[in-house]
Symmetry: D2
Subunit: 232 residues, 4 copies
């Protein structure tokens, strides 16, 4: 049994740059013929972000490989527009015994009402029980899963006993616009125009994706962060 | 603890008829002004389906309310184009102790390779172990979930121990074209042009949705079934 | 030859109400079983709009029939997410001689730069020339079109001479979320959070669609208008 | 005045290979960890295409720059799912005097009924009149356009007189799945499973895009062409 507290995110492949955004935007006002490749892009990208002209950001592509628990994948896959997915299948392969358990310091209590939760650290007792119970149930469930497989029960039936903290893996492909929309909902930042209350575990995925955006499209990222973190 | 072996599907609301399809198609050749409301629709719908003119089928809307286990919801939500969802949240509400357990007669073995599985009934022993293990793990997991909640652990943390056979509920809205695409992948029929190997449990959902399509749009349904069950 | 200065918009069919939005949102926190049908909806809809929870607005459907010039249809069809279209075809039917000409009072001059145009009324001379030239070119083009058809030239070839102010007609189906996104870009209002600079003619279409939203979903519309006219 | 009979298509940028498809598909059965990079891909891609497993083809990206007449762009932009666009704007820039005129040999007559047209070469007289009329109307319209601009009429008003054979330019970004769907409808081939009746001019665009798919993803292309040219 393998218990992990991290999310794995890898940018497998991308075709995305600030220049691509500016070139797509300029086709509407200048045309592509005779486009001066040395024109500055930063001001234009800021303007597009501020006034919410989103389509120029779509001519880009990011493919991520992600390993995360099922309860995170379930939130992730709710993002439909501009996203493509392929995921590990519990029908087609035997799932590995890798389960998520919260790290020390993961807030365990929430106060307030849905949509406006505040999070508090757990007590020592809470931390012990959470960690112990998750490990115990995960282990029992996986042993049961293996026993059913050994009895030649179909994988798609045996997996019904597995808890939602088991890790799954998937490819996710998006463009810069759909990525920013994801980040606007799955990260929590003080400078955001709209409140968002992501669960900690999907935020751990989103933070890594945000770093990749920042590195590949620094001007786009800076404009996104400056203008309220709202996808254009 | 409540163990169920059925899926619940209710057509909450719809705006969909064969006439709508024909009217949308005829705008391209006749126009809408002076459209004769008594023109026959069956031949036109057959032609559209056969030659895969899909867009006229999109001017329709179905809203379903579904109760199904998480592992079914996960397959369901992979359908993105033309679908909208709202689902019960394990972060915002306490989940009820309702779990799926296969009914007698649900094949428990699969032979062959991924993408071409064949299913066989289980042995008596397999049936006993599957039923017993699923009930046992579900019960232990739910008791643990409740204990964590009683300890004031956040719902979003406590739910990590719950298995994927716990029931969830959601609204799903689609149009006739996206519905037929769903049916082409999530039902298994001898008269289909392309093989599909849906898991039994999502097929139980799809079969009920197919009945609703048949009732609300009989000509569309007949054409779909006749022309290989491929969405146009 | 028929010259018109109006857009025709008809809400052909819809399945949309404020109650639908609230019911879809409440499945996440309350569930659908035992949902009290008399719960108030206005506060919830305001909260969803303000904090940009968009998905509950998608379980609704509007089908519009529109008659507008080609240059308007071209802008309209750029809206892809959540929209379906069927349009009159210049390949399949003979187009009728109906052309758009600006009404008196349509601003004819623009000053400033792209993305921030300001509009001014035209001079008397400008108004005369615009009206005269549009009528003259439309008439010549249509006569040429007819002559080519009389010579048994294919419709799809003959139509190449027709100007973009000729009327076309189409069905457009959307949900309340995609409709609000359209309105946020295709209307110009002082209370909007983001500037938009729609061309007058598509705004004439959007204004009529806005009235239909207001009538069918008054609470949703009020919240949209109150919270900066940004689609959630 | 510039009259052209060609379409311009350039693959500006892409991130797409047969390997990407196979890797995305294998995450479901093998997982990505320990994926043998030397596994063959051709058989798997053939299987995916034949049985219509479409999602693995979506983790790819193609950005095309296209110059084509407005009547072609209008058909092109009807493709919504998996497509992103940015187009030259007649509101924001002065359009150049470049117009489409059919080349010698472009069939000018069609017989049969909509959806099943057959095309015939034109007579000498038809060819003369078509060519002459298109040049004449295009020239008159453009001169009128320029005159209106010289009178300080807004570009968005002046352009109303321009015919649909004037060239526009745009960026179009898609993935391999949406590209194949486009090709299935916008090319005409004897080995296709479903009939399609594209207008010649959009087929000229599609043929160039097909060459790019063939070059960048030869196994995917071969499988598409072999299995009835239906997008999976």
């Amino acid at each position: 049994m393998d218990f992990q507290s991290e999310m794995y995110v890898e940018l497998v492949r991308h075709s995305a740059s600030d220049f691509d955004v500016a070139a797509a935007a300029r086709v509407s006002t200048i045309g592509a013929n005779g486009l001066d490749l040395n024109l500055p892009t930063e001001g234009l990208i800021n303007f597009l972000m501020r006034d919410r002209h989103g389509s120029p950001f779509e001519h880009t592509s990011f493919t991520f490989y992600v390993e995360a628990p099922i309860f995170v994948a379930r939130e992730f896959f709710r993002h439909r527009a501009g996203w493509s997915y392929n995921e590990e299948s519990g029908r087609y392969k035997e799932l590995a015994p890798v389960f998520y358990v919260p790290a020390d310091g993961r807030p365990l209590r929430q106060v307030g009402k849905p949509g406006a939760y505040q999070y508090k650290l757990g007590t020592y007792k809470q931390a012990m029980v959470v960690s112990g119970d998750i490990r115990r149930i995960s282990t029992e469930a996986y042993e049961t899963y293996k026993r059913l497989l050994d009895l030649d029960v179909a994988r798609e039936v045996a997996r019904m006993v597995l808890p939602v903290n088991i890790y799954t893996s998937f490819y996710a492909t998006c463009n810069a616009r759909s990525l920013m929309h994801f980040l606007s909902l799955r990260t929590k930042r003080d400078n955001a125009a709209f409140p968002s209350f992501p669960q900690k575990e999907i935020e751990m995925v989103a933070d890594q994706m945000e770093n990749e955006l920042k590195e590949t499209m620094p001007q786009t990222y800076a404009a996104f962060d400056k203008h309220g973190r709202v996808a254009p």
